[in-house]
C-alpha cells in the first residue's frame, strides 16, 4: 500500500459487530473508493454494530468527513449503532463544521424541466411580440427626445457626439471603403462576363452606379455599421447597466436616454450619409478599375456613362434611407444595451441581438422603401 492510498482492515463477525480500521488518506482522490467500500460494508457484511477506528488515518479532508457522516447516516437508517473511535481534534473540528441537517435536506442539481413544447412556442411568441412592442416604444421615445433636444441644442452632449462620430464614422471608413471597392469590382467583373456576349460592355458603369446608389450602398454601409457600431453601443450601455452606472445617472437626475442614447444616435445619423456616399464612390471606383483595365472602356467614357446613369433623386432617396437606417441601428443598439440587467452573459446576448435585430429591421425597412419609391 503506498502512502497515498486508502486502506481498511475489517475485524469481528457481522453478527457480533464489526470493527473497521481505516488507514491512509481519507481524501478526495480516494473518494470513489471510499464510496464503494461503504456500499460493500452494508450490503455484504450486514453488521449488527459498527466501530470505525481512525487510528491509522494519516490525513482527512472534507471528502473523508463526508464519508464518515454517510457511514453514520447509513447505520442510522439500518438501525445499527455506529461509533467512531480515535478521532483527533482536527478531525472532530472538521466534522463539526458540517451542518448535518442541511446536508440531509433534499438536493437538486438541475432546475425542474419547465414548459412543454407548445407552451414554449407560445412563450417565445409572446416574448417576440413584447420585444417588437418594446423596440417600437423605445424608438418612438427616442425620436421624441431627439426632436425635443433639437429645440434646445445646448442640451445635447456635443463632445460625445463628436467622439462617437469619430468612432463609428472615421474609424469605420477603411472597412467600408474596402468592402465597397471590392463589391464594385466584383459587380463590374461578373456583369461584364454576361454583357460581353452582347457587346454591351458600355452598360457596366451604369449598372454598377445605379445598383450601388439605389440599393447596395445604403445596405452595405448599414450592415457594416450595425456590426461595428450597433454592437458596440449595446455592449457599452449593457456594461454600464451591469456596473450600476445607468442607475447612478438616473439618481443624479440625468435622463439615461438623453445622456447615453441621443448623442450616439445623433452621431450615427450625421455620419451614415457620408459613409454611404463614400461607399458609393469606392464601389464606382472598383467598377472603374475593371472597366478601364479589363473592358477596353476609356476613362472618359466610363465617367460619362456613370454621370448619365446617376440621378439626383436617387442620391437624395439613398441618403434619406441611410439616415433612417442610422436611427434604427443606433436606437436598437442602445435599446438592447438598456435591456441588460446584471450579468456579463446578458451583455453578450444584447450585443448579438443588437446586430441581428438591426439587420432584420434594415432589410424590412429597405423593402418598404423599395415599394414606396417605385410609386413616386
Amino acid at each position: 500500500m503506498s502512502s497515498n492510498d486508502f486502506g481498511f482492515d475489517i475485524k469481528g463477525l457481522a453478527e457480533a459487530g464489526l470493527t473497521v480500521s481505516l488507514s491512509g488518506r481519507l481524501s478526495v482522490e480516494n473518494f470513489d473508493k471510499m464510496l464503494s467500500f461503504r456500499g460493500d460494508i452494508f450490503s455484504k457484511y450486514k453488521p449488527s454494530s459498527l466501530v470505525i477506528d481512525l487510528k491509522d488515518v494519516t490525513y482527512m479532508d472534507s471528502a473523508g468527513a463526508l464519508f464518515l457522516i454517510e457511514m453514520e447516516y447509513e447505520s442510522k437508517k439500518e438501525g445499527i449503532p455506529c461509533e467512531i473511535t480515535n478521532m483527533t481534534k482536527e478531525q472532530r473540528g472538521l466534522l463539526e463544521l458540517i451542518d448535518r441537517d442541511a446536508y440531509e435536506k433534499s438536493f437538486q442539481v438541475t432546475k425542474k424541466a419547465g414548459l412543454n413544447f407548445i407552451e414554449q412556442i407560445g412563450h417565445e411568441f409572446i416574448k417576440f411580440l413584447d420585444d417588437i412592442k418594446n423596440i417600437i416604444t423605445f424608438i418612438g421615445m427616442m425620436i421624441i427626445k431627439i426632436i425635443s433636444s433639437l429645440f434646445r441644442l445646448s442640451s445635447i452632449r456635443w463632445n460625445d457626439v463628436l467622439t462617437y462620430m469619430k468612432k463609428s464614422g472615421v474609424d469605420g471608413l477603411p472597412i467600408v471603403g474596402l468592402i465597397s471597392f471590392l463589391l464594385g469590382l466584383i459587380m463590374a467583373f461578373m456583369s461584364s462576363l454576361q454583357l460581353k456576349q452582347f457587346g454591351a460592355n458600355i452598360y457596366v458603369p451604369a449598372l454598377v452606379s445605379i445598383a450601388m446608389i439605389k440599393e447596395l450602398g445604403p445596405i452595405m454601409t448599414a450592415i457594416i455599421v450595425a456590426g461595428r457600431t450597433g454592437s458596440a453601443f449595446a455592449a457599452e450601455i449593457g456594461t454600464m447597466k451591469v456596473n450600476e452606472e445607468v442607475d447612478a445617472l438616473i439618481v443624479m437626475g440625468f435622463d439615461p436616454i438623453k445622456f447615453l442614447a441621443v448623442p450616439r444616435v445623433f452621431a450615427v445619423m450625421f455620419i451614415m450619409p457620408f459613409l454611404t456616399i463614400f461607399s458609393d464612390l469606392f464601389a464606382i471606383f472598383g467598377g472603374f478599375v475593371v472597366g478601364v483595365l479589363g473592358l477596353d472602356l476609356t476613362v472618359h467614357t466610363y465617367i460619362q456613362q456613370t454621370m448619365k446613369a446617376i440621378k439626383i433623386f436617387d442620391i437624395i432617396t439613398s441618403l434619406i434611407k441611410s439616415v433612417t437606417f442610422a436611427v434604427l441601428i443606433a436606437g436598437i443598439g442602445c435599446h438592447r444595451g438598456f435591456e441588460v440587467k446584471h450579468s456579463a452573459e446578458e451583455v453578450g446576448t444584447a450585443t448579438t441581438s443588437a446586430v441581428v435585430t438591426a439587420l432584420f429591421i434594415i432589410i424590412l425597412v429597405d423593402s418598404m422603401f423599395a415599394v414606396v419609391l417605385s410609386y413616386i
Binding site: 478526495v28 479532508d61 468527513a65 442541511a102 438536493f107
Partner: protein, 256 residues
C-alpha cells in the same frame, strides 16, 4: 520555529512609473490567519494578487509550499493551484453557471470523480458554508453575503491548505460580516487551513487575526507587524495607533 507556508522575498511592485510596494519581506506560517491591513490605496489587494501569482512583480519572489510561483513551470503551478483557494472581492462566481456548477467546476477539472461523488462533495461544501438549498440558484439571484459564502465554498472545494480572502466582509451588513468571520475561523480551526486575509474592517481584524501586517501608502511597505490587540495599545507609530483606534490624523482636523 513554526513551519513556513508562504514566504515573500524582496517583492517590489511597480505600475508604470510609480512604485506601489517596495522591497516587501513577509512570512506566513502554517495554520495561522494573517491579516494584511492598511488604508485605501496602500497596495493590500496588489500584494495579495502577487502572492497568488496573478501579477508578475518587478523584483522578488513568492514561495508557496516550497514552490517559487513566479518561475515555476506550468505543471508545478497546476499542482500548486490545487492547494490554494481564493475568495475574490466580488466573489467572482461564473455568472452563467449555477451555484452547484460553480463549486463542481474545480472538482470536475482536478479530481476525475464520478458525478455522484461530485454531487455529494458539493453538497457537503454547501452544508459547510450554510448555503444548502441554493444549489440551483444563479449568482445574480443571490445576495452579497450568499455570494461570498458560495465563493468560499468554491475556494474550499478541493480542500486547499492555503486560503486567500480579498476583503471578505466588504459591503456586507454587520451580522453577515460577523457570520462570515465565524465561518473563516471555523474553517481555520477545523481544517487548519493557512489563511491570508486582506481587510480594513477593524471588527474582523480583532475577531479573526492571529497576526497582522500593516501596509502604508507613503512608506510603500510594511510599517507594523504583530498581534492587533498589542499593536493597538503599544505601537509607537501614530499611524498604526490611529488606524486601530479610528483616529483621524490631527493635521486633518485643523483643515476642517
Amino acid at each position: 520555529m513554526k513551519e513556513i507556508a508562504i514566504s515573500v522575498e524582496n517583492l517590489t511592485v511597480r505600475f508604470g512609473d510609480s512604485v506601489v510596494l517596495n522591497n516587501i519581506n513577509l512570512n506566513v506560517f502554517k495554520g495561522e490567519i494573517l491579516v494584511i491591513l492598511g488604508g485605501s490605496g496602500c497596495g493590500k489587494s496588489t500584494l495579495l494578487k502577487h502572492m497568488i501569482g496573478l501579477y508578475e512583480p518587478e523584483k522578488g519572489r513568492v514561495i508557496i509550499n516550497g514552490i517559487d510561483i513566479i518561475n515555476a513551470d506550468e505543471n508545478k503551478l497546476r499542482e500548486l493551484r490545487k492547494d490554494i483557494g481564493v475568495l475574490f472581492q466580488s466573489s467572482a462566481l461564473i455568472g452563467s453557471m449555477t451555484v452547484y456548477e460553480n463549486i463542481a467546476l474545480p472538482l470536475r477539472e482536478y479530481t476525475g470523480l464520478s458525478d455522484d461523488a461530485i454531487e455529494r462533495l458539493v453538497r457537503i461544501k454547501l452544508a459547510m458554508v450554510g448555503l444548502s438549498g441554493y444549489e440551483i440558484y444563479l449568482p445574480s439571484e443571490l445576495s452579497g453575503g450568499m455570494k461570498k459564502r458560495a465563493g468560499i465554498a468554491r475556494a474550499i472545494a478541493l480542500d486547499p491548505t492555503i486560503l486567500f480572502f480579498d476583503e471578505p466582509s466588504a459591503g456586507l451588513d454587520p451580522i453577515t460580516a460577523a457570520e462570515l468571520d465565524l465561518l473563516i475561523k471555523n474553517i481555520n480551526n477545523g481544517i487548519g487551513t493557512t489563511m491570508v486575509v486582506v481587510t480594513h474592517e477593524l471588527e474582523s481584524i480583532f475577531n479573526i487575526a492571529h497576526r497582522v501586517i500593516m501596509l502604508e501608502k507613503e512608506e510603500k511597505g510594511i510599517i507594523a507587524e504583530g498581534d492587533p490587540y498589542i499593536l493597538r495599545k503599544e505601537s509607537k507609530d501614530p499611524r498604526v495607533r490611529n488606524f486601530f483606534n479610528r483616529h483621524i490624523p490631527e493635521h486633518l482636523y485643523q483643515k476642517t
